[in-house]
């Protein structure tokens, strides 16, 4: 474990955080808000951490091994969520636990909020909330598309990045290049979204905040009523478009940029993703049409928005907690499946779901020919058993954690089994709204401290796909010795 390398990068992350704070700080100065002091203190804290870590660290090599990559990812997230909590706490807007919750919810792109009265908060604080979404989303894309595949970490992402195996040498220069392109794409999508929202009638700050939240598939809004506040089908339609866009694989978009739109048509995951969204929309729409007093247009409007949102972001345009059970069950399943691998959305990821289903299908053939090789294809390529195995294991561990969180949440007084499962799934999947007590029109503020801590863990582990933290729990992970 090259701790100096890790410290070096963590220092850079702390600095970056400090720079990020400048935007809301500038806003606070511009509007002469009470939060100025809080942001200033936060910037100072970032500088302090940054200098400390950077001093302690040293980058001596261009190679990045699995260990260091994982450590930087894991600890980096903890560091960033800690620093991100400072404005809330320094400004007295939230207590420490709530601040950590809001910060984690922001960076992981969950969008579950403990703030009950958003419209009373200063613009700078609201901006920081949305910014945490945006930065977290960018971080996820860079980590999962650029960093991890290069160090051979995750079979699914390696496959997606068309990388055949781990190659630790000269990773860092290539990483920088990929990260830069991803960053540009991300900024482009966000800007377009902001402009479109602005044209639809949102004021500039609202447009920017919601654009940040959409492209990061976060779900924070600057209004308590979330997207219900707008009650505007045009805005909802554009939001749906950008949410679906953000739920796609950014690595795929990069390939589209390099080789054209034909790539989309050949990508199994993307087709499955759109297919799942369309099917779910249809099912929910029919369910709403026959069981609620909505007409056809309303059913389509609410269904399409909520389906796209629940699979990725967590914006709420209607109180789906009052929808019939079948629709809620469909939404719950969408929280599980999530978006595409390499997007800012969470969940199990569509590519894994596709692999698992194909695997189950291939198994039926194999029962008859037990010695034949398993023949699963995706994107026209044969998938190795190793990748399939990892996908199946991921699914198992994900389910285990969902059950585990749900069990812990039972500690909370008035939580029914279904609500607990819903909470567990929505936070692991980085979605946001749950059912019942933390439902579509509620916030998380009423939950007990223990529950909030459990949910923080759920959000972190879900976002970083669990193994990152599990790996860090092994003592051998931290050993100084070189040579394995």
């Amino acid at each position: 474990m090259d701790l100096r390398l890790v410290a070096h990068f963590l220092g850079k992350i702390a600095f970056a955080c400090g720079i990020a704070f400048l935007l809301p700080f500038g806003l606070a100065m511009f509007y002469a808000e009470t939060s100025r002091a809080a942001f200033l203190l936060a910037i100072l804290a970032c500088l302090l951490f940054g200098v400390l870590l950077w001093r302690l660290g040293q980058q001596m090599t261009d190679s990045l091994r699995a260990r260091e990559g994982i450590a930087i990812t894991g600890i980096g997230w903890l560091l960033v969520t800690f620093l991100g909590m400072l404005p809330y706490v320094f400004g007295g807007y939230l207590g420490v636990l709530d601040g950590v919750f809001e910060s984690i919810s922001g960076f992981t792109g969950t969008g579950a909020t403990v703030m009950d009265a958003l419209e009373e908060l200063p613009q700078s604080i609201l901006m920081w909330r949305s910014l945490t979404h945006w930065l977290g989303g960018l971080g996820i894309i860079v980590i999962f598309i650029a960093v991890l595949p290069q160090i051979g970490y995750s079979a699914v992402y390696m496959y997606n990045a068309e990388i055949s195996g781990p190659a630790p040498e000269r990773v860092l220069p290539r990483l920088k290049e990929m990260a830069w392109v991803l960053f540009l794409m991300y900024v482009l999508f966000t800007s377009v979204a902001a402009v479109v929202y602005w044209f639809c009638g949102l004021d500039l700050l609202s447009a920017v905040n919601h654009a940040f939240s959409t492209i990061a598939t976060g779900g924070f809004s600057t209004y308590d009523a979330n997207a219900i506040h707008f009650n505007n089908p045009l805005i909802e339609g554009w939001m749906t478009f950008f949410m679906v866009l953000a739920g796609g694989n950014f690595g795929l978009y990069y390939r589209v940029y390099q080789r054209g739109f034909a790539v989309l048509g050949k990508n199994t995951e993307f087709k499955a993703y759109i297919g799942i969204l369309l099917t779910a929309t249809l099912l929910v729409m029919l369910n709403l049409l026959y069981n609620m007093e909505y007409n056809m247009t309303q059913s389509l409007r609410y269904a399409s928005f909520q389906v796209a949102s629940i699979a990725t972001t967590g914006f709420v345009s209607a109180d789906f907690d009052r929808w019939p059970s079948f629709s809620k069950a469909v939404l719950l399943l969408l929280m599980f499946t999530g978006g595409c691998a390499g997007s800012t959305a969470g969940g199990i990821k569509i590519s894994r779901i596709v692999l698992l289903i194909k695997m189950a299908g291939a198994n039926l053939r194999q029962q008859l020919h037990p010695h034949a090789m398993m023949d699963v294809h995706m994107n026209g390529m044969h998938i190795g058993e190793e990748t399939l195995h990892r996908a199946a294991q991921f699914f198992f561990v994900y389910m285990m954690f969902v059950a585990f969180w749900a069990l812990l949440l039972m500690n909370e007084g008035e939580l029914s089994m279904f609500d607990a499962i819903g909470l567990s799934v929505t936070t692991m999947g980085s979605v946001g709204p749950g059912f019942g007590v933390a439902g579509a029109t509620c916030t998380y503020s009423g939950l007990s401290n223990f529950t909030k801590v459990v949910l923080c863990l759920a959000m972190l582990l879900g976002r970083l796909e669990m193994f990152t933290f599990l790996v860090m729990l092994r003592p051998s992970f931290w050993r100084r010795s070189k040579g394995w």
């Binding site: 695997m359 039926l364 053939r365 092994r474």
Partner: protein, 483 residues
């Protein structure tokens, strides 16, 4: 696909079914019950069908390939289900759908009943219900350990590991010897249980019926209130004992008989199963004690019985657990999902698969750091290769997906969400009682017809571990060519 062999064996199966039906027929004679006619008709049909199929087929070879095994298993179950339904329908006790439901529930060892007033039924019918449990359980053990061990790849492992994978040579003689040994264990347990139950105060017929139900981990009782009817802690304790031993790999018992009792102490799966039962009992006891107004002793009594009952997938009920706190209910639902040990009459995912999945998780964590290493998992000295691990992971996914599918279908049919999820998990896992409208004090009679059909599929696929039936849906399966 050697259809002659399949037909012949199915014919034999039908004849066997007919001969089993003689038992309740005798009971009907003994008690002078109106069900004599119904059983007479059933036996007639079984004999007729049996002779017809035997005529059609031929046992020309001692070779039995995988395909024939699957076909016999799949079609056999469906055939026995319909034959078994005849007494209920012919006697006018249940309509056809309900009869099919009750029979599948019996054969699969689920124990979910659509009969609202058990105590008005004739003894012969109650005996037949319990017999469906017993023979279903026996069939499962024989099929999964003796006939088709490769289906449990990763889950069922024959001790001595003589037969691994599908080979058609020398399969039949080996099957016979193992099957006889398993039958012996099964019989001994059943007789022991019946004797003990009688000593605890049950009358002869009740003891026999409940012992059939226990060893087959079924759950049918002769009383609407299930075991709560007896309100006898000593009886409950003994039932717990027999339920737990029925949830272990019966092959393990055969090996222990041949090689010594230490085999049992060394069996990781069984130890894990016991641990799960004890840990959950402790958690539920504490939860009941602190959150329901139950004294400590009662909490423990209810907790241990219900935990053992649901984890063994028997499904006997000694208390209305639907009114217990949510934490306990979630624990119980998780136990229903995991089920018992592979190679027992219990259902569910199976403890061995859970162990393998968890061990594989550790090996993946290790592999994250050493990306070039191959994952390796060991259980009781057996090394599980990557393809087996993959199979287990795949099974977990398919099992959960089917649970989701059944739940969705039930929800679409109007059953409340939590009830649907509970019914789905419970029936796939061959448990029986669920929550809400199919709760411990209710029956499944209130479900709409479509839901009952869904539940039938759930029970069937859960019992036969999914793939058996699904494989038969592939047209390639039926092609005559050898391979």
């Amino acid at each position: 696909m050697n259809l002659e062999v399949v037909s012949f064996i199915l014919g034999r199966l039908s004849l066997a079914c007919g001969s089993v039906l003689v038992l309740p027929l005798l009971a009907a004679f003994f008690y002078q019950e109106p069900s004599i006619r119904a059983f007479g008709v059933s036996i007639f049909i079984c004999l007729g069908l049996g002779m017809f199929l035997c005529r059609l087929g031929r046992l020309e070879t001692e070779h039995l390939s995988v395909r024939e095994g699957i076909a016999i298993t799949g079609i056999g179950w469906i055939m026995v289900t319909f034959l078994g339904m005849v007494p209920y329908a012919a006697g006018g006790y249940l309509k056809v759908l309900d009869g099919v439901f009750e029979t599948i529930s019996g054969l699969s060892g689920t124990g979910a009943t659509v009969i609202d007033s058990l105590e008005t039924l004739p003894h012969s019918i109650l005996l037949w219900r319990s017999l469906t449990h017993w023979f279903g359980g026996l069939g499962i053990i024989v099929i999964f350990i003796a006939l088709l061990p490769q289906f449990g790849r990763g889950a069922v492992y024959m001790f001595n590991a003589e037969s691994t994978g599908p080979t058609s040579d020398r399969v039949l003689p080996r099957i016979k010897s193992m099957a006889m040994a398993l039958f012996a264990v099964y019989l001994v347990f059943t007789v022991a249980a019946a004797a003990v139950y009688m000593l605890c105060g049950m009358n002869f017929l009740d003891a026999v019926d409940h012992s059939f139900s226990t060893i087959a981990t079924g759950g049918f009782s002769n009383y609407d209130a299930s075991i709560a009817h007896f309100n006898n802690p000593v009886l409950e304790g003994w039932i717990i004992f027999f339920m737990v031993i029925s949830s272990a790999n019966f092959g393990m018992y055969v090996m222990a008989w041949r090689h010594g009792w230490h085999i049992i102490w060394e069996n990781t799966e069984f130890k894990t199963y016991l641990f799960l039962v004890l840990a959950t009992t402790a958690a539920v006891t504490i939860d009941l004690f602190m959150n329901s107004n139950l004294p400590a002793a009662t909490s423990f009594r209810y907790a241990i019985f219900q935990t053992a009952s649901l984890s063994s997938t028997t499904g006997f009920v000694s208390a209305d657990f639907d009114v217990w706190p949510s934490f306990s209910k979630l624990c119980l639902m998780m136990l229903m999902f995991v089920g018992g040990c592979a190679g027992s009459t219990a259902g569910g995912l199976k403890v061995s698969r859970l162990i393998i999945l968890i061990k594989a998780m550790y090996s993946i964590v290790w592999q994250k750091l050493h990306p070039q290493m191959v994952p390796h998992v060991h259980l009781d000295g057996v090394a599980y290769t990557a393809d087996v691990l993959l199979g287990v992971g795949r099974f977990f996914f398919a099992y959960l997906m089917l649970d989701v599918l059944w739940a969705l279908l039930l929800i679409a049919d109007g059953v409340p969400v939590l009830d649907s999820i509970g019914i789905s998990v419970s029936t796939m896992g061959s448990v029986g009682p669920a929550f809400g409208m199919a709760g411990p004090t209710c029956t499944y009679s209130g479900l709409p017809d479509f839901s009952k059909v869904v539940v039938c599929f759930s029970m069937l696929l859960g019992r036969l571990e999914t793939f058996t039936i699904l494989v038969m849906l592939n047209p390639e399966f039926w092609h005559r060519k050898k391979w």
